[in-house]
């Protein structure tokens, strides 16, 4: 039953036992590293426990009762995922280990059979390494080119550069993030896809940071591929999702050969299984896929629009407060409607790792480093940034604690 109005954060927090934890010698945990991974509600933990306690079996082949129960729970998750992003059918939803594997699946399967010498793959300067390295591997192997859409000083993509790449008539694939994991920038994917499709070029969207935080509709967006990850949206680690339009998926060669992805295997030839199983070789991560089901239910009960509203409110509050701290350089768009709940910054000459150590003393978990986005770090001309990122259980009081710890860091470093 979908709830209405502002989130009841105190009630939500009760569903996350880990948030009661004390760290650093008795300090109340303040978890602000949600862009890396989110915490898990009891419902998710319980459902994994229930699977192992009561119906642990391998799926799809056996006919005994527990196998049928496990298969049903596994495939029900696929239905929920399809519905969550509004895919046309479950045939378009492939389970992988993580978003990285989903992106690699596209590079190895679709990429290898479609990208040829002198073709171009277009990505952006704000990509995570997982949406850079697979394309470096592919373009190097094929003698193709990797091109970047630049980012301006306010954290927005330079759409003129994108148009120029498209006009070169050599582009075979565009692969962009929906939301930057460093700047928080929400990328205008609708425009990007429209421009690309006008020229018949497919688009892959890295939804790892967007799907957990806002309503994403793959049909409305009209992306051809989308990758995202369960563990960044209350689900367990070890579950990634690749959405691919059926008409494209039908023409893609398999990624990994093995059990479960076949119909018949003979000495020298194999008939592959139907979609999406053709792309799911080997025993999948059954328990965690089943656990992901509970995470989707939890988010659906809240409603993704309300998740987004809550994060806008927190982000606005965080940006207002942090811009008042002396010595802070803030990265990414200032307009909270153009960004997700991710606040990256530097303060004076304090290195982010030193800041993270000081924060940790206060029980505050933030991220520091290059955030797997070294191309962007080079563009920003920094070696690292600090990053606080929010989710449904975070509060303004926690942001206040974070600001207090920043003041403490300024005192220690005499800034």
């Amino acid at each position: 039953m979908m709830q209405k109005g502002a989130l009841n954060v105190q009630k939500i927090r009760e569903d996350f036992p880990i948030l009661k934890r004390k760290v650093s010698g008795g300090k109340q945990l303040v978890y602000l590293d949600n862009a890396a991974t989110t915490q898990k509600p009891l419902a998710v933990i319980d459902s994994i426990h229930d699977y192992y306690m009561n119906y642990n079996s391998n799926i799809h082949r056996a006919v005994h009762q527990m196998a049928e129960e496990a298969t049903l729970a596994f495939e029900t998750t696929r239905e929920k995922v399809a519905k969550f992003v509004n895919a046309r059918s479950t045939e378009e939803i492939i389970f992988t280990r993580n978003a990285t594997e989903a992106l690699n699946l596209v590079a190895y399967s679709w990429g290898r059979s479609n990208v040829k010498k002198d073709d171009k793959v277009v990505i952006t300067e704000i990509e995570h390494h997982s949406n850079i390295v697979p394309w470096q591997i592919l373009t190097t192997e094929k003698g193709a080119k990797l091109e970047y859409i630049g980012v301006d000083d306010d954290g927005y993509l330079k759409m003129q550069e994108y148009k120029q790449h498209l006009d070169s008539n050599k582009v075979k694939l565009v692969s962009v993030t929906h939301m930057s994991n460093v700047l928080g920038t929400i990328v205008p994917v609708n425009d990007i896809i429209k421009m690309s499709h006008e020229r018949g070029i497919p688009v892959l969207i890295d939804g790892a940071q967007s799907v957990p935080h806002m309503q994403v509709d793959v049909q409305k967006m009209d992306c051809d591929f989308m990758a995202f990850s369960a563990h960044k949206m209350l689900g367990p680690t070890g579950v990634g999702i690749l959405y691919v339009k059926k008409e494209i998926l039908e023409k893609m060669p398999p990624f990994m050969g093995g059990g479960d992805m076949i119909k018949e295997v003979h000495k020298y030839e194999t008939r592959y299984n139907d979609l999406p199983y053709k792309f799911e070789g080997g025993t999948p991560n059954i328990a965690d896929v089943i656990g992901f089901s509970a995470a989707i239910d939890y988010l659906n009960d809240i409603g993704m629009d309300r998740v987004r509203e809550h994060e806008i409110e927190l982000t606005k509050y965080a940006i207002d407060r942090i811009t008042g701290v002396k010595g802070v350089t803030l990265y990414g768009p200032r307009n909270v409607n153009d960004r997700g709940g991710v606040v990256s910054f530097n303060i004076g000459d304090i290195h982010p790792h030193d800041l993270a150590t000081i924060m940790n003393d206060h029980g505050i978990a933030i991220r520091s480093g290059h955030h797997c986005a070294q191309v962007l770090m080079e563009r920003l001309d920094v070696s690292a940034t600090s990053r606080a990122s929010f989710y449904i259980y975070n509060t303004k009081e926690e942001i206040d604690k974070f600001i207090d710890a920043l003041d403490e860091a300024r005192r220690l470093f005499k800034i």
Binding site: D349, P352, H353, T357, H370, E408, L412, K414
Partner: protein, 142 residues
């Protein structure tokens, strides 16, 4: 705990590093980084006979890594090469006064020693393979 780490002396070496900069025609030059943090250190040495006659470092990263590098250069300048061979992790941590670091940050403190040992591996590679091997093994534990 942060008060114990970010003491005056660490901040001083972080902001006013000793022996920092480039070196023309070094006898040994070596670079390494800490993939976790992205800390980077280059060490350049001039060696005459068995002595380190000049040492410079370049780098960027956190206060712990950079202060540790600065202090290490002071520690070994003018000393015989054997003193580098014998340097241990604990020597460094005691030298910078940080014996209480967690497993993540200890890597920051030890990066400069690792780089220096790897530099010595390069130096001894042909001259003294046994020493090179010992230094190589040492550097793996850092």
């Amino acid at each position: 705990m942060s008060d114990d780490i970010y003491r005056e002396i660490i901040l001083d070496h972080y902001r006013n590093p000793r022996n920092k900069g480039k070196m023309s025609n070094p006898d040994v030059s070596i670079h390494d980084s800490n993939p976790l943090c992205g800390d980077e250190i280059d060490m350049h040495l001039k060696v005459v006979g068995d002595k380190i006659t000049d040492i410079k470092f370049e780098g960027r990263g956190c206060a712990i890594s950079q202060a540790s590098a600065s202090m290490l250069t002071e520690m070994v300048a003018g000393k015989p090469l054997t003193s580098i061979k014998d340097l241990t992790k604990d020597d460094i941590l005691e030298n910078i006064g940080l014996t209480n670091l967690g497993p993540a940050r200890i890597k920051c403190a030890l990066l400069s020693l690792k780089v220096l040992k790897l530099g010595m591996v390069q130096y001894y590679a042909n001259k003294d393979p046994a020493s090179a091997k010992k230094l190589q093994d040492d550097s793996k534990g850092l």
